[in-house]
């Protein structure tokens, strides 16, 4: 790791002000991606500003039809939160599949979505549930937040403070985990909102990162059941292909994971 200066922020405002005073700062949440990247010298921020100890940024709250997860809440706390398990069990389940137990103790929802890895879990949950990303400057709909590989709508120095999820009528998540990296080879989150809208998002599949899957949404709107997807054909164009799986393999996984997610949602 190259030299850097570590700052521990005690408030969101302090973190933003520290960022403004640094030449090339990075915000540090759980550090489960940023630190490995810095160790490989692929990133060399002059300053790292730790958001992990800001009390206002930790916690899970359910109120009415909204579940709010504050940005520095570790995955373990989401996976085991009674509020999350009651309001959106599929989301708590998603959190329980990220990385490994030690990673889940440190990694956070804010860090995951700010990084927007194309195979990360949370982006699929946010997009399918139609979540809203709250920052220290504004609210951003999930539909407008994810902008492609490792790219988001966040501006320089903008800090995610929380994510709020409308509680759906039904939701399910199914993931084909890569056995070594534990990222999604492909995973699909399906949701039926309380107003009857069907939203389906896939991660790990597209070359452009997390994506909605329109053909599956249309098929599930007509008939909410795994068998409704039997004849759906997902085009392989634009999907990721690597040593772990071809684009055609991932196209099929999108369908199969969606079927399993619908079955899980009930």
């Amino acid at each position: 790791m190259y030299q850097t200066t570590y700052h521990r922020a005690s408030s969101v405002d302090e973190a933003a002000s520290l960022f403004g005073k640094s030449s090339e700062a990075k915000f540090l949440a759980g550090g489960q991606t940023l630190l490995p990247v810095m160790k490989q010298r692929l990133a060399a921020p002059t300053d790292v500003i730790d958001l992990g100890k800001i009390k206002d940024m930790i916690g899970v709250e359910a109120s009415g039809d909204t579940l709010t997860i504050k940005a520095a809440t570790p995955h373990y706390d989401v996976a085991t939160s009674d509020a999350a398990k009651k309001a959106i069990p599929a989301l708590a389940y998603l959190a329980s599949l990220i990385g490994d137990p030690a990673v889940r103790y440190r990694g956070t929802i804010g860090g995951s979505i700010a990084n927007n890895d194309p195979a990360a879990d949370y982006p699929a949950g946010l997009l399918a549930l139609g979540a809203t990303v709250k920052t220290n400057k504004r609210s951003i709909a999930a539909d407008d937040f994810f902008k492609g590989l490792f790219t988001t709508a966040l501006e320089d120095g903008e800090i995610i403070t929380a994510v709020s999820f409308p509680v759906p009528a039904k939701a399910g998540y199914a993931k084909m985990r890569h056995p070594a990296s534990r990222f999604a080879l492909t995973a699909v989150f399906v949701a039926q909102t309380k107003s009857g809208e069907i939203r389906v998002a896939a991660t790990g599949a597209s070359q452009s990162g997390v994506m909605r899957v329109g053909v599956i949404e249309a098929a599930l709107k007509a008939n909410w059941s795994p068998s409704a997807l039997d004849s759906v054909n997902i085009p392989a164009s634009g999907l990721l292909a690597d040593i772990h799986g071809t684009a055609e393999y991932r196209a099929n996984l999108v369908k199969v994971m969606a079927q399993r997610a619908v079955a899980a949602a009930g």
Partner: protein, 161 residues
């Protein structure tokens, strides 16, 4: 440089380190607690797992500064004098180690697993929960046996306390 203050195995310590220093290097290089190992250095193998404020974390994936003020327990801190921790004893009795490199991290993760699951541990759960710890010798079989054995012993010793 910054001064990082920690409680390690019950003892208050303060070390002056570069800000880029990882927690594992504070433990190994500054405090000479070399039981915590660096295996992969890519956050995958779990040889560096320690408990920080009661949670099993990878000390190679934390800056020392992030741990400032924390209570850290390493493999050196779990035995009571000459009496091994029940997890250590179970690893020995079940031949849960061969070369021993992964063992400190395995034991620290395994204690955390037992704390979280208590008496509801079964083989499948142990195998799944150990996914963040890699062993290249044992094939995991005896490690899993040791964790299940220790889960029973820890329950007994907790009941006795």
């Amino acid at each position: 440089m910054s001064t990082v203050k920690l409680t390690v195995n019950g003892k208050a310590v303060a070390v002056d380190v570069e800000d880029r220093t990882l927690l594992v290097h504070v433990l190994r290089d500054h405090l000479n607690l070399t039981g915590t190992h660096v295996g992969c250095d890519t956050s995958q193998c779990g040889a560096c797992v320690v408990h920080m404020d009661g949670r099993a974390v990878k000390s190679c994936t934390m800056l020392a500064g992030q741990a400032d003020g924390a209570n850290v327990t390493t493999i050196e801190g779990i035995a009571k004098g000459d009496e091994l921790h029940p997890m250590q004893a179970a690893f020995r009795d079940n031949h849960g180690l061969q070369c021993g490199y992964c063992t400190p991290g395995m034991i620290m993760s395994a204690i955390d697993i037992v704390h979280r699951h208590g008496g509801q541990l079964d083989e499948a759960t142990v195998r799944q929960e150990l996914e963040g710890n890699i062993c290249r010798c044992t094939g995991y079989h005896n490690i899993v046996k040791a964790v299940l054995d220790a889960a029973g012993r820890m329950k007994v010793s907790q009941a006795a306390e």
